[in-house]
C-alpha cells in the first residue's frame, strides 16, 4: 500500500512540474504577445490622432469654402440663408394619398431644411411616410 502511495505522489509531482513548466512558457509567450499588441495599439492610436488631425485639416472651413466655390457648377452649394428655413406647415405637400392613416401622417411630419440647399432651390425632407422627399422647383417661394 505504502509504495503505491509514494509512486502516486511522485507521479503527481512530475505532472505538476510539467504543468508549471508549460504555464511558465505560456505566460511568457502571452506577455510577449501582449507587449506586441500594446505596441500596435499605441501605433494605431498614433495613427488615429494623425488621421483625426488630417481629417480636421481637410475639413477646415476655408478649404471647404474654396471647394464649394470651385465646384459651384456641379453642386450649386451656397451658404445657409434664413430663407432656406421654413415651417413645415408652409410647404405645399402633394395631396395626401387616401390610405388608412393619411390625414394624420401629414401633420405629424416635421420638416427640416437640408443643410446644403442649392441656389434658389429648397429641399425639404419630411419625416412623414407619405410625404417622402419633395424638391420645389427653382423660383418657388419658401414662404407663401
Amino acid at each position: 500500500m505504502r509504495p503505491l502511495l509514494y509512486f502516486c505522489s511522485a507521479l503527481v509531482v512530475m505532472a505538476m512540474a510539467f504543468w508549471a513548466y508549460r504555464e511558465n512558457y505560456a505566460t511568457q509567450k502571452a506577455l510577449r504577445e501582449l507587449a506586441a499588441l500594446q505596441d500596435s495599439i499605441s501605433g494605431l492610436r498614433e495613427d488615429i490622432t494623425m488621421q483625426k488631425a488630417e481629417w480636421a485639416y481637410l475639413n477646415r472651413p476655408t478649404r471647404l469654402k474654396e471647394l464649394a466655390t470651385a465646384n459651384f457648377d456641379r453642386l450649386h452649394l451656397m451658404p445657409l440663408e434664413p430663407e432656406q428655413m421654413a415651417d413645415g406647415k408652409t410647404v405645399a405637400f402633394p395631396a395626401p394619398v387616401l390610405t388608412l392613416d393619411a390625414p394624420g401622417a401629414l401633420t405629424a411630419g416635421t420638416a427640416r431644411p437640408a443643410t446644403s440647399a442649392s441656389a434658389g432651390m429648397l429641399t425639404i425632407t419630411a419625416s412623414a411616410d407619405t410625404a417622402g422627399e419633395i424638391t420645389s422647383k427653382p423660383g418657388d417661394k419658401a414662404f407663401p
Binding site: 502571452a30 506577455l31 501582449l34 507587449a35 500594446q38 495599439i41 499605441s42 492610436r45 498614433e46 490622432t49 494623425m50 483625426k52 488631425a53 488630417e54 481629417w55 480636421a56 485639416y57 475639413n59 477646415r60 472651413p61 476655408t62 469654402k65 451658404p79 445657409l80 440663408e81 434664413p82 430663407e83 432656406q84 428655413m85 421654413a86 415651417d87 414662404f143
Partner: protein, 594 residues
C-alpha cells in the same frame, strides 16, 4: 514494539517462591518503562525545535534573497498590467462645442547631431544646408568640429526632410521623437487659441507649453496627465466662427477699417460662440511680438478682449436702464434734451449739432441716440450710483474670460468720478473698456437683468449671477433697443425674420497728446436677437472705418458696423438653428409705451 510486562509471571512466581515482595519487580519494570518514554519525548522535542529553527531560517533567507534580487535587477515595467485607455498625446486636444478639433498634437521628429560620431563633418554640413536652406554650411561645420558633443539642428522635421536627412547616411545624425501642436484650421479662432511652443526639451521628448490665449490660460488643465484623454471643449462653434470671421473680414475691407472684432455670446449661459479679431495670425506659426510701432496694430492684438475703447453711445442703454431700475424715470418720461448742453467749461453736443429737445422721452433718447438726454439721465442717477452699477455690470474691470490676455485688459477710468465723468460716462465717453465687457453687459440685459459672465468653456455649470435689473426694466430696455433698429440709428440692422434689438456707438479716438481725432473713430454695434425671445448677443466693433459710397465719407456706426452686424446675423442665425419668424410678425415686443 515489544512491550515488557510489568509483572512477568515467571519472575513473580520465582520471587514468591523465594519469599520476596513481587511488587519490587513491578516497580523496577515501571521505572525502566518511564525512562524509555522520557528518552523518546526528549528526542521528539529536540526534533521539533530544530524544525522550527529551520523554518524561521528558511523564511528569512527567502525574504533576504528576494530583497537582494529586487535590489540587483534592472527595473522593468509590469508587462502584464492592463493599460486600458492608453494615452499617446501628452497634451489634451482642444475641440469646439460640437467636438470638432481646434488644436491637436502631431508626432514628428527633431534632428540633432553628436559630432563625435560624424564620419564626414564637411559633407554633412553641406548636405544639411542643401536640405534646410536657412542653415549655413560653414557655421555648421565649425560647430561640428569645435569639440562639443551635442548639437540641435532642427526642432521639427517634415517627413520629406527626415527622409532626405536619412539619405545623408551619416551615423552622427540622430532623430528624436517630437510631439508638436497643430491647429488644423489655420487662422480660425487664432486669438482664442493663442499658440504653443516647446518648454523643457530632451532628446526623446519635449513638453509643449501654451504661450497665449486659452492654451496658456488653461495650460495646467491641458497638461494634466489624468485629463489628457479628454479634450478641452470650448464654447466656440467652428462653423459660426468661420462665418463670423468671413463676414467680418469682408465688412472690414468694405468699410476700409484697419481692424475689426466681433463677439457672439449666448445670453443665458454666457458661452462665447464666436470671438473674432481681425487682422489675425496663424497660431501654427505665431509671429513674434512686435518690437516697434504700436502693439495694437500687431495681428497678435485681440481687439475683442484686449482692445480698450471708449465704446460711445452703446453705454446709453445702461444709463436708461439704471434710471428706470431706480424708479427715476419710465420709458415714456420726458427728460431735458435741449442741445447744446453747457456744464462748466464743457459743452455737450449732439451728432451733427442736432437738437432732440427741448424734451425727449427716454425711449427717444435711446432711439435717436441723444447725448444730452443721456447726460441728464446720468445726472439724475448721480455719480456714485452710476459707478456702482457700471462696476456691478463688470464694465469697469478687466474682462473675465479664460484667456491669458484678459486680466491685462483693465478698463481705463478716471481716478476721480467727478460730475463731468458722470455726464460723459452716460453716453460712453471718458471711460474705456473691453468690447467683451460690453457684450456681457448687453447679455445681462437680454438675460432679464441677471448678470452674465462670459466663458469660453462649454457646459460649465455655474451659479446664476446676481440680479442687476428687474425683469420689467430689462424688457423695457429691450423694447427701446428694438426701436433703435426699427426707426432709430440702426435701421440697416433690421434682418427680416430675426427681430434685432441693439444700440450703435461711435466714438472718436483720443489723439496723442489730448483731444479727439475726428477722422479716426471706433464704431460699435451691440445687438440682441431675436428680441422677442433673446438668445444671442452680437457685438461688432470696427476700428477706424469709413463708408465711402455716399457723397461724403460716413463714419457713424449706423453706416459701418450695423450693416456688417446685420450680415453676420443673417448668415449666422440659421447656423445657430434659429428659424426666422414669418415676415411681418417679426417686430418683436414692439408694444407702444402709451
Amino acid at each position: 514494539m515489544i512491550r515488557t510486562p510489568l509483572r512477568p509471571l515467571a519472575r513473580i512466581l520465582d520471587a514468591r517462591a523465594k519469599g520476596e515482595n513481587p511488587d519490587v519487580i513491578e516497580r523496577e519494570n515501571l521505572r525502566a518503562r518511564h525512562e524509555v518514554q522520557r528518552e523518546a519525548s526528549k528526542s521528539r522535542a529536540e526534533w521539533r525545535l530544530k524544525l522550527l529553527v529551520m523554518g524561521v531560517v528558511a523564511a528569512f533567507s527567502v525574504i533576504g534573497v528576494r530583497m537582494g534580487t529586487l535590489a540587483a535587477t534592472e527595473p522593468t515595467e509590469p508587462r502584464a498590467a492592463v493599460r486600458g485607455n492608453e494615452i499617446v498625446a501628452t497634451r489634451a486636444d482642444i475641440t469646439d462645442r460640437q467636438g470638432r478639433i481646434l488644436a491637436t498634437n502631431m508626432l514628428t521628429h527633431s534632428l540633432y547631431v553628436q559630432p563625435h560620431d560624424l564620419v564626414d563633418p564637411h559633407s554633412v554640413a553641406v548636405e544639411l544646408e542643401r536640405i534646410f536652406p536657412d542653415l549655413d554650411a560653414k557655421a555648421l561645420e565649425r560647430r561640428f568640429t569645435d569639440g562639443r558633443s551635442f548639437l540641435w539642428i532642427k526642432k521639427i522635421l517634415s517627413p520629406e526632410q527626415m527622409q532626405a536627412v536619412h539619405e545623408i547616411g551619416d551615423p552622427g545624425l540622430y532623430f528624436g521623437p517630437r510631439e508638436m501642436r497643430l491647429y488644423p484650421n489655420g487662422t480660425l479662432g487664432a486669438h482664442v487659441l493663442g499658440g504653443a511652443s516647446f518648454g523643457a526639451e530632451g532628446v526623446d521628448s519635449a513638453e509643449i507649453i501654451g504661450t497665449a490665449g486659452i492654451e496658456k490660460a488653461q495650460d495646467v488643465r491641458l497638461r494634466d496627465p489624468a485629463l489628457a484623454g479628454q479634450p478641452l471643449q470650448l464654447s466656440i462653434d467652428l462653423t459660426v466662427q468661420a462665418t463670423v470671421e468671413d463676414v467680418l473680414g469682408s465688412g472690414m475691407t468694405m468699410m476700409n477699417a484697419k481692424g475689426a472684432a466681433a463677439i457672439l455670446m449666448d445670453v443665458h449661459t454666457g458661452e462665447v460662440i464666436a470671438l473674432a479679431s481681425l487682422p489675425n495670425f496663424d497660431p501654427n506659426d505665431r509671429p513674434a511680438l512686435p518690437t516697434s510701432g504700436n502693439p495694437q496694430d500687431s495681428p497678435l492684438f485681440d481687439r475683442a478682449v484686449q482692445g480698450i475703447y471708449e465704446l460711445g453711445s452703446t453705454f446709453k442703454i445702461f444709463a436708461a436702464a439704471q434710471a428706470m431700475e431706480l424708479g427715476l424715470v419710465g420709458p415714456t418720461s420726458l427728460v431735458d434734451a435741449s442741445a447744446p448742453m453747457r456744464w462748466g467749461k464743457f459743452t455737450i453736443k449732439e451728432f451733427e449739432n442736432h437738437n432732440y429737445g427741448p424734451l425727449a422721452t427716454v425711449s427717444d433718447i435711446i432711439a435717436k441716440s441723444s447725448n444730452v438726454g443721456a447726460a441728464h439721465l446720468g445726472l439724475l442717477i448721480g455719480g456714485e450710483r452710476q459707478q456702482a452699477f457700471l462696476k456691478a455690470m463688470g464694465l469697469l474691470d478687466a474682462p473675465q474670460i479664460e484667456l491669458i490676455e484678459a486680466p491685462g485688459a483693465k478698463a481705463l477710468i478716471p481716478d476721480r468720478w467727478s460730475e463731468i465723468v458722470t455726464i460723459t460716462a452716460a453716453y460712453g465717453h471718458g471711460i474705456a473698456t473691453s468690447p467683451l465687457n460690453l457684450a456681457a453687459g448687453y447679455a445681462t440685459i437680454a438675460n432679464g437683468g441677471v448678470k452674465v459672465t462670459p466663458t469660453l468653456l462649454h457646459g460649465l455649470v455655474r451659479a446664476p449671477g446676481p440680479r442687476l435689473l428687474s425683469e420689467k426694466v430689462a424688457e423695457d430696455a429691450l423694447v427701446m433697443m428694438r426701436r433703435v433698429v426699427t426707426e432709430g440709428t440702426a435701421t440697416l440692422g433690421d434682418v427680416p425674420g430675426y427681430a434685432v434689438a441693439g444700440k450703435t456707438g461711435t466714438a472718436e479716438k483720443p489723439k496723442r497728446g489730448g483731444g479727439y481725432d475726428k477722422e479716426k473713430v471706433v464704431n460699435t454695434f451691440a445687438c440682441i436677437f431675436p428680441a422677442d425671445n433673446p438668445k444671442y448677443v452680437l457685438l461688432v466693433v470696427l476700428d477706424e472705418p469709413v463708408e465711402t459710397s455716399g457723397p461724403r465719407p460716413r463714419r457713424t456706426a449706423g453706416w459701418t458696423a450695423v450693416p456688417v452686424a446685420a450680415e453676420v446675423i443673417r448668415r449666422v442665425a440659421p447656423l445657430l438653428g434659429l428659424r426666422p419668424a414669418a415676415v411681418g410678425a417679426s417686430d418683436g415686443p414692439k408694444t407702444p409705451f402709451e
